[in-house]
């Protein structure tokens, strides 16, 4: 602390008192000499070291180079006195950078401070890692930081710092952090009571989730829930309101996080988010007078609009937002104009229809002339994004006009954008060529090579364009279009390059028209050549050699040019000239020249180099961009890659799941595992249903097993209520009811402990979302109080035939973080409605369906009851439990069972199923035959029933 160190105060006062720079330097040099001497003499106590290091820091801050004090700073870190330690750490974070060799020496001291019982020491150490964390530190200390973050005994201020330190380490050295493995544990911290911790953890999750979308999937639900509580329920500690807005930073982060995931399909979460967005937009309708309040409110609003656009560009919310944005872009407040344009560019980049934005086209074009360059930039982005075939001519025209007066820093980007817009939205070739040439001649220096490469590509590939292009370039080279002053002395001159290439290739097409004779073409180009740099001249030479081939009448002039260039200093030019000279002076009958100068073949179709360049500019940032500047199509391409990442990270998810300690499994049921294998959470299962063997490379989800898990699950398959899972901590029960294709399944989570379960999360994943939808009616609350039961209702809808039951993952904190993965007893048979059929009808239909493939049949062993008889009551129970109506008296043999039911599916329609079971007491075998109108259904129903009727099935 400065006031404690009189010497330091004096030193600062002296420096302030120095009237001129020389005096200041003199004073500093004197001090540094003194410090060096003291350090050399050694034998300093902690206070003195602290004082001198503080002086060094001050000198450093003033901008002087310092080369002493590093070792002393490191010594101070290991001091027992907080004040000395603090100065030591300050010096380390200021004087050293992450590649500094001195950092090796502090790793151990930092580790000691991380393990210290004193939280203040923890904080100093965390802060140091966050500021200068090197690779070595990251490897050595990431574990310790993680421990501080998740330890229940850590104070909130330690947790906050630990979260951000981890984030920093991840940004710098992502390979050090096992993100997927830590995912669930980190996400559970988003339920912390302290909003400060939530903010920091959300920042961390935000960064990790971008690279591990799948592993962090649950954070979506958490973020939505937290937002709902903040915004709609207004449930937050009072001190976290910032000018009446509940923690705007947290809201912004959460809204941002939600935009990294594809829009949710879960209707419950979606409804909650809609409500949140509505509330935010409603409050934003009022403009508070206080600057601070207004800022905070708008910060949230702009992010909320971003999310609304992301979720659904056609929703009425976006309509409201568009109106609001229109007000913003003509606001008096510059900040608001800036952000309004920025957000509108986002809307334009994603919206299907640009009509809402086009209404304000004039205002936006006007913004190009805003007095503030920041606003002008945003207006440029927006104009580029909102460009389409209808307004391209107008917008590009405006941009071209603006280009002439635009700031230098802006021009290169503008040229790129104009070039892309022109190419993409051109309605006629003529317009394209005119515009792009005008662009090239106006922008001069600011035209990057990609622009003219692209023009040449397009002209070469479009035959209709070649003649017009050739004429147009000539017109552009002629005065008054091409003013001499535009050609910078010895500068690159892209228009000339472009012209040279096009005329070289297509000059002969127009050579017979008046005003475009070979001689005139040659003159036009050649008079410009003295002003050009070597690369341009090289291209001119190439053009000349092409002309030697097609224009024999000017061969003499061309050859004399080559001759002269054979003696220039530039080696590239000289080589070309020599080769071309030799080539053109070969005998007349030689066809080498002709072969060499064949017309260029069309370029292979490839991605526009312009777009690549523009996108490169935006790639590789810390947080990925949510949208690209540009029209809708520019953003659509981004989606598939997202999906890819999702699919790929499923393997990581698997890795995370296997990390759950395997509980003793009573019966490693291969059947279940294999039927669950191929559980791909994102893409609709592509495996054809007739193929029972799942693809082996697809990850299987590790289910939580206890002794009774399978028994309970099986029982629930043919009954509506029962226990799904039970251990010492929780009991999970199920109650369900089904009506044709719809169902309601209530999950009861009973907390058997005397403490509350916190950070409770439940998610359901369905392998084939096009066949089955399972959603929570409400987002599950994050706490289950001690010794109580919480009920969560699932809405279920069957859309088509499916095989894999949904999987529910439950995680919670009870001392440590735990999670369970449970199959839900939601099987296809649940959507069967029993039907009664008279015997005649039954047999008629039975025959109508006929044999395979719509019949599925299997023979399998059965167990007899205690009396050695066929266990008919059990068979009836199982079949009725699978919601088939047992038809008595149809089969003359009393042990045989026939039954019928209709499977209801909302999209695939209804499928009638007939069933016949023929047990044989002597052989202990039984034959099960299913006939239905769909072969998929027959197979699946057979599999389901057989599982329970079979001999080794648990009762």
């Amino acid at each position: 602390m400065a006031t404690n160190m009189r010497g330091l105060t004096q030193f600062i006062a002296d420096i302030r008192g120095a009237r001129v720079r020389e005096l200041e330097e003199k004073r500093i040099n004197k001090e540094m000499a003194n410090i060096r001497k003291k350090f050399k003499d050694g034998n300093l106590d902690g206070y003195q070291k602290k004082k001198y290091v503080a002086k060094i820091i001050y000198t450093y801050i003033l901008g002087y180079k310092v080369d002493v004090g590093h070792m002393e700073a490191i010594n101070l870190i290991s001091s027992h006195k907080y004040s000395e330690k603090q100065i030591g750490y300050l010096a380390v974070t200021l004087l050293m950078h992450e590649n500094s060799d001195f950092l090796r020496l502090v790793v151990n001291s930092i580790r000691k401070d991380l393990d210290d019982n004193n939280e203040f020491s923890n904080c100093l150490a965390l802060h140091a890692i966050a500021n200068v964390g090197s690779q070595e530190m990251a490897e050595a200390l990431a574990e310790d930081v993680h421990r501080l973050l998740i330890s229940p005994t850590s104070q909130t201020f330690v947790k906050k710092k630990a979260a951000l330190t981890l984030l920093r380490l991840y940004r710098k050295h992502p390979e050090v952090i096992p993100a997927a493995e830590w995912a669930m544990r980190l996400i559970s911290l988003m339920d912390e009571h302290d909003l400060g911790v939530v903010l920091c953890v959300t920042s961390l999750v935000l960064a990790l989730a971008q690279d591990h979308l799948e592993a962090f999937q649950v954070s979506y639900q958490k973020a939505a829930h937290r937002l709902y509580k903040l915004v709609v329920d207004r449930e937050y500690p009072a001190e976290y309101t910032y000018y009446k807005v509940p923690s705007p930073w947290l809201q912004v982060k959460l809204l941002r996080l939600l935009q990294y995931y594809p829009p949710t399909e879960d209707t419950t979460i979606l409804a909650a988010l809609q409500k949140v967005l509505e509330t935010i937009m409603q409050t934003a309708g009022t403009t508070p007078r206080n600057v601070q309040h207004n800022n905070a409110q708008n910060a949230v609003l702009f992010e909320a609009i971003g999310l609304a656009i992301h979720l659904d560009t056609n929703s009425p919310l976006v309509g409201v937002a568009a109106q609001q944005l229109a007000v913003f872009i003509s606001s008096k407040e510059t900040n608001v104009r800036y952000l309004g344009l920025d957000t509108m560019a986002h809307l334009a980049a994603r919206a299907d229809s640009l009509d809402a934005i086009k209404q304000h086209q004039d205002t936006i074009i006007g913004s190009l002339r805003d007095k503030d360059i920041s606003v002008r930039r945003r207006a440029l982005d927006l104009l580029y994004s909102m460009c389409d075939t209808d307004n391209a001519e107008l917008i590009v025209g405006e941009l071209l006009r603006y280009l002439q007066v635009a700031d230098y820093g802006l021009r290169e980007e503008m040229v790129l954008k104009i070039a892309i817009a022109t190419e993409r939205y051109a309605t006629s070739y003529k317009w394209y060529v005119d515009t792009i040439l005008q662009l090239i001649s106006t922008a001069g220096d600011h035209v990057s090579d990609e622009v003219w490469y692209r023009v040449i590509q397009i002209v070469t590939n479009t035959e209709d364009l070649q003649e017009y292009a050739a004429k147009a370039v000539i017109e552009h080279l002629r005065p008054p279009h091409c003013h001499e002053s535009l050609i910078k002395v010895a500068g690159e001159y892209p228009l000339l390059i472009c012209a040279a290439y096009i005329l070289g290739e297509y000059g002969h097409v127009i050579a017979n028209d008046p005003g475009y004779s070979p001689m005139e073409q040659f003159h036009l180009l050649h008079t410009k050549s003295p002003f050009c740099a070597a690369p341009t001249r090289a291209i001119l030479l190439s053009t000349y050699i092409k002309w030697v081939n097609v224009f024999p009448e000017i061969k003499a002039q061309l050859v004399s040019v080559f001759d002269r260039y054979r003696h220039v200093l530039d080696s590239e030019l000289q080589q070309r000239a020599c080769e071309f000279y030799a080539l053109s002076t070969r005998p007349e009958d030689d066809d080498l020249l002709q072969n060499v100068c064949e017309e260029m073949p069309p370029f292979p179709e490839r991605e526009s180099t312009l777009l690549m360049r523009l996108n490169k500019k935006h790639g590789d940032t810390n947080d990925k961009r949510i949208w690209n500047i540009g029209g809708k199509d520019a953003n659509i391409e981004r989606r598939p890659t997202r999906r890819d990442t999702l699919a790929r990270s499923a393997t990581l998810m698997n890795a995370a799941a296997t990390a759950i300690p395997p509980s003793p499994s009573a019966d490693a049921n291969g059947d279940i595992m294999s039927s669950l294998a191929g559980l791909d959470l994102t893409s609709p299962s592509s495996a054809p249903p007739s193929n029972p063997a799942p693809e082996p490379e697809k990850p299987a989800v590790q289910l939580t097993h206890t002794a009774n898990t399978d028994k309970w699950y099986d029982k629930l398959c043919y009954s509506n209520d029962g226990i799904l899972h039970e251990d010492v901590q929780v009991q999970v029960g199920v109650k369900s009811e089904y009506h044709s294709q719809l169902g309601r399944v209530a999950i009861y989570i009973g907390n058997k402990l005397s403490v509350a379960l916190t950070s409770f999360t439940a998610t359901v994943s369905v392998s084939d979302t096009s066949a089955l939808s399972v959603t929570f009616q409400k987002i599950p609350a994050s706490t289950v109080p001690a010794r109580t039961q919480a009920q969560h209702v699932l809405q279920v809808e069957c859309r088509g035939p499916f095989k894999t039951p949904p999987v529910m993952t439950v995680s919670f904190m009870a001392g440590s973080h735990q999670s369970m993965t449970l199959r839900l007893p939601i099987i296809m048979a649940k959507f069967v409605e029993p039907v009664t059929l008279p015997a005649a009808d039954f047999f008629e239909r039975w025959k109508l369906i006929g044999g395979p493939p719509r019949e599925a049949q299997n023979v399998f062993p059965i167990t007899l009851d205690a009396a050695g008889q066929v266990d008919t009551p059990r068979h009836r129970k199982i079949i009725a439990g699978h919601r088939f109506h047992v038809l008595d008296g149809l089969d003359p043999n009393p042990v045989n069972i026939v039954a019928a039911g209709v499977l209801h599916m909302s999209q695939a329609g209804k499928v009638g199923c007939l069933l016949r079971l023929e047990p044989n007491k002597e052989a202990k075998l039984c034959r099960l035959t299913i006939r239905s109108t769909s072969e998929d259904v027959s197979g699946e129903v057979l599999a389901l029933l057989q599982r329970h009727l079979k001999a080794d099935a648990t009762l």
Binding site: M1, T3, A13, I61, G196, Q292, N295, A299, T334, D372
Partner: protein, 198 residues
């Protein structure tokens, strides 16, 4: 993330500089550049400025895009945050306000001299708000209490070491003798409506 936090006075002298991305070039050049950028902007323009020209100077890896400068002036001091595209501009503007309010609480009517004589304390306060370029805490009450806890810890360790010292460690806000120099007290909060209402 936040690349840098700077405070300039009206004559362009940096009063605080903290970089969160390692500097390859001379930071002074960078600071001069930033000051030129913002000082050339008249009042009334927006508080944000795209600064692609800082990309190179910041030397951030991989040519980060979207370097933005968010700044705000308070009487004689100008607070400048250099951030990347992933930060919400208004959020940073709010953060500047939080920083200023925190300084104000710690120093009781902070003035430029406080920043000079208590540079270490200013860094400590900043460390409670931003850590490694990321926002740590935004709640002024929490920040203030963290700063006070720090001071207490320091005082305890000091008095434990110097049992005979009298009246030392009076905490921040106790101005040293030199601050008899007239200082623009009260330049801060009164300028903005609503701050006092807290």
């Amino acid at each position: 993330m936040i690349h840098a936090v700077l405070i300039f006075n009206t004559s362009g002298t940096p009063r605080l500089s903290k970089f969160y991305t390692p500097q390859t070039t001379n930071p002074t050049a960078l600071m001069n550049k930033i000051y030129t950028l913002i000082s050339s902007r008249p009042a009334g323009l927006c508080n944000f400025l795209d600064a692609p020209e800082l990309n190179a100077l910041l030397g951030s890896k991989g040519g980060d895009d979207d370097v933005r400068v968010v700044y705000r002036s308070y009487a004689t001091l100008c607070f400048v945050f250099v951030v990347d595209g992933s930060e919400s501009e208004l959020g940073i503007l709010d953060l500047i306000q939080v920083f200023v309010e925190s300084l104000d609480r710690a120093f009781e009517d902070v003035c430029e001299l406080d920043l000079v004589f208590h540079f270490d304390e200013v860094h400590h306060i900043l460390a409670e708000i931003i850590q490694g370029g990321l926002v740590l805490e935004t709640n002024v009450v929490d920040i203030a209490s963290a700063v006070q806890d720090n001071q207490k810890a320091r005082k305890t360790s000091f008095s434990a070491a110097n049992p005979l010292a009298l009246g030392v460690g009076s905490g921040v806000g106790g101005r040293s003798a030199n601050s008899a120099v007239p200082s623009p007290i009260g330049w801060l909060t009164t300028k903005f409506a609503g701050v006092g209402a807290r």
